[in-house]
């Protein structure tokens, strides 16, 4: 009886607490992703990036958030006021709602839905209404063009991303995020290696879906000033920003769940690699040590103290992450290790995926609209369909003909790559024909 009550309380409260954590922490996370982006950008461009607020600019996101909160919220005279007012909320709500079905470690999940992954994809796609309506209601040509571009781009790349996801789902045989990760554990390999082409298609499509460079046409600064956000300022603008970065986290989480093994450690099934269990603690210790190393070099004493505090926090995190490795603790709480380490690996993978986004952003120029559409419709969508067929073939070979994993998936990946090369070649040829796009 008591156990039942306990389970009921757990079943109600854990999702609630998780939801609260997501809503409360996500803005902060988004802010720090922005900081990370600026730091990565600075690093790639031979600069330092934000260095003023807090040591190494660690408090910059908070300062930015405060500034945005107290900025004037300008609503243009000719705007459709009601829609202008609530459009950013749609984007933010959709992005945050999508987080609810994601499993960040075996402990941390709001709801393990039957249709989990589809839910994430579908709900996050609703965020487009925020962009489209915001762009339309601003009553400005730049905003309208940005909104139109955004809608067209999302609809086009959603298809490719969806087909890429279907490839992964074929392998997993389920839609539940939890079971997908379990399936990868059973396969003994991440789906990124079983379906590399699908993973590639998903990377490209997810960049396009989140409006990141080189597909950032809806907010292309040099063309449309700020696209659909041109007329927004202050807090509402910050909401769009929050939605964009939350969406990045969402697509990174989908990729992590479906292709990168979710919360699984690399080589989760191989005991020879068990030393990787120490990696989380070692990484935290290394970061902490770097903080201590930098602390005396800070210009102001407060900053030094802050740096030391961050270092101590890192060491604390290292201790917490190391705790499950002690036999006594793991006997007492057997779920501790998968819970904590799972969350660590998941977040690490999400972070690396977002880093990839940033890397691409600072390397590539921007696509033009017709090129973007051509890439989506003539390359990615056919490729993703071929990828689905290839995975189906591999599964048939594996299940019915008794082929091993490696030959079956190797063969089909090879076939898919041949098709990809052919598609790329065909497009290249078309490019040569299209030297002059204009007519006049």
């Amino acid at each position: 009886m008591l156990m039942n009550v306990f389970h009921f309380v757990i079943s109600i409260w854990v999702p609630l607490v998780c939801a609260l954590i997501i809503v409360a922490v996500l803005p902060l996370v988004a802010g720090y992703i922005v900081l990370m982006e600026r730091k990565v950008m600075a690093d790639m461009q031979a600069r330092l990036g934000p260095m003023r607020v807090g040591p190494h600019g660690l408090l910059q996101p908070i300062a930015d958030a405060l500034k945005l909160l107290i900025k004037e919220d300008i609503i243009p005279d000719e705007a459709d006021k009601a829609i202008f007012w609530f459009a950013p909320l749609i984007s933010v709500t959709a992005a945050m709602l999508a987080m609810s079905a994601l499993a960040i470690g075996p402990w941390f999940q709001i709801a393990d839905l039957n249709v989990g992954l589809l839910f994430v994809v579908g709900i996050s796609a609703l965020g487009i209404f925020g962009i489209v309506l915001g762009g339309w209601s601003s009553n400005s040509h730049y905003s309208l063009l940005g909104a139109l571009r955004s809608a067209a781009q999302l609809v086009s790349y959603e298809t490719a991303a969806g087909m890429a996801i279907v490839g992964g789902l074929l392998l997993a045989g389920t839609l539940s995020t939890r079971e997908i990760i379990q399936a990868q554990n059973d396969y003994g390999t991440w789906f990124a290696f079983a379906a590399p082409v699908g993973f590639f298609v998903y990377i490209v499509a997810s960049i396009a879906e989140t409006n990141r460079a080189p597909f950032d046409l809806p907010e292309a600064e040099s063309e449309l000033v700020a696209g659909y956000m041109t007329e927004y300022s202050g807090f509402r603008w910050a909401l769009y920003f929050l939605a964009e970065y939350t969406n990045m986290v969402v697509v990174a989480s989908i990729a992590t769940t479906l292709f990168l093994g979710g919360w699984l450690r690399p080589f989760a099934g191989t005991p020879a690699f068990n030393f990787l269990d120490y990696f989380p603690s070692v990484l935290m210790l290394a970061v902490g040590a770097y903080c201590f190393y930098r602390a005396p070099k800070q210009p102001v004493k407060v900053q030094s103290l802050f740096m030391v505090a961050v270092g101590l926090l890192m060491i604390l995190a290292a201790i917490i992450l190391a705790a499950p490795l002690v036999p006594a603790v793991s006997d007492l709480l057997p779920g501790l290790k998968p819970g904590l380490h799972g969350a660590f690996w998941f977040l690490l993978k999400v972070g690396l995926y977002i880093y990839l986004f940033m890397w691409l952003r600072f390397t590539f120029p921007r696509y033009r609209f017709d090129q973007l559409m051509r890439l989506g419709w003539q390359f990615l969508i056919p490729l993703s369909i071929v990828n689905v067929m290839g995975i189906g073939l591999a599964l048939v070979l594996h299940r019915h003909w008794g082929w091993g994993h490696l030959p079956a998936f190797g063969l089909t990946t090879l076939l898919t790559l041949v098709v990809a090369a052919w598609l790329g070649w065909a497009e290249e040829k078309k490019d040569k024909v299209h030297v002059f796009v204009g007519e006049t």
Binding site: D80, I83, L113, N114, V115, L118, F119, V121, G122, I123, A125, L126, I128, F129, V132, L133, G135, W136, S137, L144, A147, L148, A151, A152, L154, V155, E158, L175
Partner: protein
């Protein structure tokens, strides 16, 4: 109890938004309320344990079709239509006929409730998990309609391209 609250909430939301869809002057606002109505319907699907249909409704209807609608509305400069008469000349006749239709349906439902025994609803577990079930039925018994539907989509796609293209 929770079931009831969820159902009546979504039902009320759907009806109110539906009324606003047909009465609003501004097409964009109509579209927004249509999205609300569709999402409320999706909520009712969820309450009926039709998870797969719920997500299909969200992705396809709300996410796909309505994006198309909003896209077209934004493409078309509609400042003019704001100041036009919104209802056609025979609106009273149409309204009357539609209401008669509604009354007929109501009567049919009322008669059905009292005279036909619907029996007790199947247990919720009979439909779980809905994704697999729908998939199985769709790809076995309804294979041919499924293929026909895909051809329909192809035809519609070609048709839409032909319609909307300026010069073919």
């Amino acid at each position: 109890m929770l079931d009831h609250i969820v159902f009546y909430f979504f039902a009320a939301l759907a009806v109110v938004s539906a009324i606003l869809v047909v009465t609003r002057r501004n097409v964009v606002q109509s579209a927004i309320f249509l999205i609300t109505a569709l999402l409320a319907t999706a909520g009712i699907f969820l309450q009926l344990h039709a998870e797969f249909l719920f997500i299909v409704q969200v992705i396809l209807y709300a996410g796909g079709i309505m994006v198309l609608f909003v896209f077209v509305i934004m493409l078309i400069n509609m400042d003019v239509s704001l100041h036009q008469v919104q209802f056609n000349r025979q609106w009273w006749l149409g309204l009357l006929l539609a209401l008669v239709l509604g009354a007929e349906l109501t009567i049919a439902i009322a008669i059905g409730r009292s005279h036909l025994s619907f029996g007790e609803a199947a247990p919720a577990s009979a439909l779980e998990p809905s994704t697999q079930l729908v998939g199985k039925v769709l790809f076995s018994e309804y294979m041919l309609p499924f293929e026909i539907a895909s051809i329909l989509l192809l035809v519609a796609m070609i048709g839409a391209v032909v319609m909307a293209k300026k010069k073919i």
